[in-house]
Subunit: 112 residues, 2 copies
Amino acid sequence: MANCNDINSNLTNTSVNELKSEKALAHLAKALAHPARIRILKILFKLDQLGGCLNSNLVSELGLAQSTVSEHLRVLIKAGFIDATPQATKVCYQISTKQLNYFSNLFATTYQ
Amino acid sequence: MANCNDINSNLTNTSVNELKSEKALAHLAKALAHPARIRILKILFKLDQLGGCLNSNLVSELGLAQSTVSEHLRVLIKAGFIDATPQATKVCYQISTKQLNYFSNLFATTYQ
DNA sequence: GCCTATAATCGTATTTTAACGATTAATAGG
DNA sequence: CCTATTAATCGTTAAAATACGATTATAGGC
């Protein structure tokens, strides 16, 4: 049950690094905070398992306009969850499992 | 290196349940998508370790207006990351480690 | 060189979020 | 009862996110 002592919050003093990593965590969470982007990552994750990547045909898959999908991709790339490599006239999008793990670990270490 | 085959995205067919859990993940991520809320959870997490909870003195801690903090708390409560129990004129806020774990697992199972 | 395909960027409208001060509701204490 | 404390809610303003069509830039194929 809840103890609910009125604990002085000065006990929870904060370092600069702590605030920095919290800000980073919030920033990454923001990139994940949309169903379309979660969906994109899922598709890219599955393709990664199959040894491929996406020469974007996401538009029909998501039912969103090309420019909208492009914007979602931009957000994910900026957050490091996706790598984009140009290929002829197309672009190859690949998930960054490294960044997925980074997020997972950052979350775990923040609240452990 | 990137294979980048133009894999048919029909391979990544989607179930209704998959879409539902993806939407849930996005919703939870959205609740985490602000530094102040990450901070609040951190403070509550630390207090939980000390066997206490917060009769909100977060206002001075965060340097935000009382109504703003209240709104952030509302978002976190709605997402299930915080439980609130009234205590006299105050309210006791406690972190839900269960929900933290749920989020962590949902993320892991989505991309594993 | 010109046409096509792809995807980023631009411009814009709409919606959502964030923040604050002010007000309200609830309860404890005198 | 009245008062003080606490926290939610209201009203409003400002900022950011979302979405789309239209345009632009790049590169390959003819």
